[in-house]
Symmetry: C4
Subunit: 454 residues, 4 copies
């Protein structure tokens, strides 16, 4: 709560610039280096007109709030100064309700597993629910840090909305929203296929068992839910309301599970865009005969500021990145293991292959999108290396040194940095794991399909 208040205070300060000179010593270290020009322009800025990350991300974040993620108020407003985190707010209540609702499923599954014995196969569901629960908690933590962060981010972005920085060929809003929309669309298809696969399997099973074993099962909503979510109804008695509730919670969990990756991609796009703008500005200098040192000084200052912003975002986000990576690696390994398994109905194959390709694709996309920050941060190096002796100055030297030696990238709690090289290393590791696991799993695979009606 404290850091939120801080952020607010910092923001109000901007509105009364005449008090700035005196209070410099008491402020946060990262807020007092803005010069006056920026602050003045800010007070009169019409945020709705500018291509800022806050504006670009807000529809996606609003959608997230519908699914109990990022409980913030005032996201719809154009200016980030209205964004607040409050424990007593509608989004927070939604989040808490969902967490309680989903923990029922998580706990019932845990009890179910402890009863029948944990194996590598039936553990997947538990991991899924635990992961979603963790994501919820981490997003609440992120929401707590978000208001000061987005204000800092927005103030910094104002620099890049004016000359000499250009708007790139696709605007920030487009870039930020595009991966989000694609992921949402693909995940909807995935969830529909999951439902289709489950329903068809259920119907076929009922049909087959009634024909062959004279069992008197009936195709019904209740039967479907009872069969597929049996672990819940060991703990609780079945009612139709509970059936709907389970389906809804399950769907929401799937959404959140996808939202983690989507969110990382949005942030990455937002940061990479600014680094690209800096690179583009540097690239334009190439054609100028004589570049004053002050220009390089300004560019370097903006570059350093962007690195600092990245650092702050990374501090707030890297728990989610760590969770997302671990989650993705686990599910990719699991899905790849099932690649040689026999399935009963064609729709199962359709779902399995779509789901696997979607998962691998999404994982690769998150890594690659996050790695663009690193790529963009270094892309101006080749131009800077061509700076002629005439224009060479200590500022260019410092900029080159920083670009060469600093790893500018999002990280998983600083354990690893999301760069293209990491992806290569991970691919090698996954192949090793997969080979060992395939060998491990072979006895199970050889057994084939279990009898349908037992």
């Amino acid at each position: 709560m404290a850091s939120d208040m801080d952020g607010q205070a910092g923001w109000k300060l901007r509105q009364t610039p005449n008090t700035l000179a005196k209070s410099t010593q008491n402020k946060n270290s990262d807020e007092d280096n803005f010069d006056f020009r920026v602050i003045k322009s800010e007070t009169t800025t019409d945020y709705a007109q500018l291509d800022l990350f806050h504006r670009a991300a807000s529809p996606i974040m609003l959608l997230g709030q519908c699914f109990a993620i990022m409980p913030l108020t005032g996201i719809r407003k154009a200016s980030p100064r209205h964004v607040h985190f409050r424990f007593k707010s509608v989004p927070m209540i939604v989040t808490v309700i969902f967490m309680m609702a989903s923990s029922v499923l998580t706990l019932s599954m845990l009890k179910f597993l402890l009863n029948i014995g944990v194996t590598a196969k039936n553990f997947v569901g538990q991991v899924f629910f635990t992961c979603v629960q963790c994501a919820c908690i981490l997003f609440i933590d992120l929401a707590r840090r978000w208001p000061p962060l987005i204000r800092y981010w927005t103030r910094l972005e104002l620099i890049f909305t004016k000359a000499p920085y250009e708007v790139l060929n696709r605007s920030l809003s487009q870039r930020v929203r595009q991966p989000a929309l694609i992921i949402i669309a693909l995940s909807l298809v995935e969830h529909s296929l999951y439902l289709a696969s489950a329903i068809v399997s259920y119907k076929q099973r009922v049909k087959y068992c009634t024909q062959n074993y004279n069992s008197t099962m009936d195709v019904s909503f209740d039967g479907y839910v009872k069969l597929n979510y049996d672990y819940v109804f060991i703990l609780l008695p079945y009612t139709r309301f509970l059936g709907v509730y389970v389906l809804v919670v399950n769907g929401t969990c799937t959404f959140i599970w996808n939202y983690m990756d989507l969110f990382i991609m949005m942030i990455s796009r937002g940061l990479a865009y600014r680094f690209e703008q800096i690179s583009k500005r540097i690239r334009r200098l190439e054609h100028e005969d004589r570049v004053p040192e002050t220009t390089f000084m300004e560019i370097r200052e903006h570059y350093v500021r962007m690195c600092e912003l990245l650092e702050r975002v990374d501090n707030a986000l890297s728990s989610i990145i760590l969770l997302s990576c671990a989650n993705n690696l686990y599910f990719v390994c699991c899905q790849l293991l099932n690649i040689f398994n026999k399935l009963r109905w064609p729709i199962n194959y359709v779902y399995f292959w779509y789901s696997m390709l979607y998962l691998v694709g999404r994982t690769a996309c998150v890594f690659l999108t996050a790695a663009t920050i690193n790529d963009e941060s270094k892309s101006a190096l080749s131009v800077l290396r061509r700076v002629s002796s005439k224009n060479w100055c200590v500022e260019v030297e410092r900029l080159i040194f920083q670009m060469s030696t600093q790893t500018v990238a999002l990280s998983g709690k600083k354990f690893y940095f999301l760069t293209r090289r990491l992806l290569f290393g991970m691919a090698g590791t996954i192949v090793t794991y997969e080979l060992v696991l395939l060998q491990f799993d072979e006895p199970n695979r050889r057994k084939g399909l279990l009898p349908l009606c037992a």
Copy 2:
């Protein structure tokens, strides 16, 4: 198509240097930094006399065109300004026809596999055909980017054909063509052995089965083709024309499969040669008492330009590099796995061992040749470190810093850089994979040979 046009425009510009001054602001960033001297000399240059990459590579590229690779027009001409990519051209038509022809084989094999069930063993053929199809597409994409690239490359190379740069002890043409000719020769031997092995196996089998099982098979071309390419004739009825067609397409596929590696080696040799020239020039400076800063400035500029060229080539080529590496690693792992398998006839052993050694050798050669770029780019470092205080200047410092911190090498889509260290890491990884796979494959290996006549 747009980039091609761009390149052309840039080229024509060079022919009318008097319009240059005005149009500077509208040009591509990489074309306007050439000084006049270069451009003038270029208009009067007799390309046929110079040791340029375009000249060195053109016979090999022409050969490639005979096998439906790199559909460009005007490759035979001495000057790269005549090189064009057009969708409506003879080479492009050849390529499209081949791709359709080979896709028949690919699809029929796919259908065959889905029928009998995919295993690690029978998957090899599918990977081979898919790989060749991908290579075709990637080479079309490369052809599209080739005309502007080779023009840029040639213009840059003109610098290195004049003093103070020397011709190295073996000319560029020799160096570029040598690996190509060796690979072609060895791959011809490989393909011949493959045919010999298949034919002998077929004959022996017919002989053995007629003797022992009274089957009335006859040694014939038709029988040979039907046995070895059975997957095609499940989809299509057998005719002698189709038999020949299958053999031809198969041979062409093998050529393309080798051509990928060959092409990477040619490019690597071409780039490494120029870096070696720079290193040699720097090495000669060592004996001079007093080197003016302008000399180092010029060297550094040329070095940076070469790095940029490498960057451009890498952008165009790295998809092919990625495919080639994945392809080579897969086949090396497969072949090494078969090392303990029992074969029926001596000729099978001859073919298997030749094929395996050829494959491992080719893979190592591609990596090592590509790594020479990295080696050569750093080879002048030791001389630059000896530059005395007298001659020390900011340009030398910048050059040393760049050489020390930048990874100058071809890459696989920037996921990894082709350096000598990579090869070491890969060798370690392959051994791990191999050990796990050998263990995996043991039950199959123990079964031994299947009955010959079934």
Copy 3:
């Protein structure tokens, strides 16, 4: 012994500063660069008032001495000048007695193992005892080097107890003692659970066997000890005194086994604190308009000195770090392997899971705590990169270069450095080992529990 004397001499020198000027040439290289101001202040310093590492660590080190670790005299005194290592001293005698006592257990277990045949399972105990013995020896070696080291450390720390360095939000004493107390508390719980698990198992077994097999065993202290430490009583006849002796030695071994990790954490906290103070001082400079070069010169000097201290500490400590890492990795792998094993009584599960989580947690904590040194040493980089052109000077450049290129971290004999990235790599390696080992161990796991009464 020589180095101890050296240290003492160096220390006495400080008390007679008037002889300093003359003897400069004869001194140790690391002691003659202190300026006079520091030395004078030192002679009049009341160490008890200052927040020094020696003061912070002494209670924990005294506790260690009770368990035969770090045989030094004079640890209780406020000033490190009273710390000495003597072969003829009470702590040293305690250590030697313990080592002899524990070697009885080690040797009897070794004999036992050679008799029944070593397997991966029964090897654990041997590793445990050998590890503790090695730790004792390495701590004696460390104790020998400790007096000069702690004096050097303390002298250096005096710089950081005065302005412009601030006390951080939690004092050094708190930070150093906190992990020690937590580890001790958790390890006490672990050992209690171990005893509880062993005793309950023993009681249940007696009960079960008397009921079912009419054996006339009795629940008694003697029976418990004989059953659980059978390997000792093959070599020696059982007496009650020997039984107590075995339990005490076992408990002490467990303490030492934990103390290694605890000690590394204490040292890490102590060093990281000082680096954090430097970072904080640099961060405060950010708000100043004009920073004189002498300030940066001083900061850089202190930074370099801290790096030297780290180097010295690393030289003395890295054998213990290597042992601790190897030990932790081995036990983590072993415990993870047992995760799917069936156990007989609930208390066994409680103990197993607590023990495993404690072990993994402790290992992670040691690595992460040690990695904070590396994190803190680089944390000021972002501020230094923002130093404006006005304040830029060669000293800042040197400081940035050093921070960027030097790996400031504790190491395992320089084979590896304890950084966050190492932890990531190790996690990946452990997973690989675990997957292979699980597969290896499966036949044993399938056998299930052995008959209880044999």
Copy 4:
């Protein structure tokens, strides 16, 4: 041959310094930067008095010549100008004879293996002989390059035999010869134990078989040789001369197999010594108030020269390093695999454990000794970082930059550098291999001992 002549010419040049000025432009790049002072002193130097690598290594190299390694003439002479490589010389003839003699064993074993079928177990002998043969060829190649190399080395070493460089606490000769003598002593013990183990096994077997199976074998030299080297006597008829011949060749092979590692250690010690001298000189400067830039210039020049020498040595030696590493890793893996095997007689256990520990120890020693070059080359960094602003100059900056960014170490054909970190990575890889292999080998291990008399 050409390079040898070159070296000679360069050397003679030194004897007639009056012709030097004119011929500067025609000389080898690495010989013309020596200043006059050095050359003059050289002509009057009494090499026998100086602590040079050539002097230190010559007894060990002479010993090697007795075992057909390094066929050079004039090694016994104090001055390296008498060292020559000639195809027509006694050592070369010895080498050729040995190579022919050993190739008989290699080929007979190859034939034997192809007859009975290659397995992982019986392949070890083949690897051993092939490795020794390769080592012979590589040492001949090294001998060809040795004369110019040792002259260059010696000329460079003259710098370090005079002030301001000090003799370190243990002289170069001691340091170079010490590991050689230790390896030779330990390898003699190893070979004796091998013989003892083989002889005892043979005797016990004869005794056991005559007692139990009434076979009429006799303990005799002939029987021993026939049993242990059966693969030779399949190809050749047994004679007592041939028996002795086989034993002698086998012993020589073992010597060469050890000599490779020994030689790498000698070279490493020789190079590391000089880097240590440089470090020590830098460390002494720390106490000086004012160091002139020329001092740093000189130090840097010597450092760069040493790096160049290392580069040259590495070029000549790295094939042997690659072979030695591959060889050591293979044998370590093999021996570790046999760790759980049952053996028949106690002497077999003694030999196996001694041999394994010796092998692991030797491998670790080679890596660690080679890594000291890297350690020593960086050891002065901490002192250079403390150079005060007063003494700071561009030469110090360059020296720090070079030490920080360059990997100064012997390499395996540049695929990897022999540093302490490499050893850590290799250890991890070996453990992975071992775990997979152990699992692989389990069925064989379970079979136990084969019947003794068959």
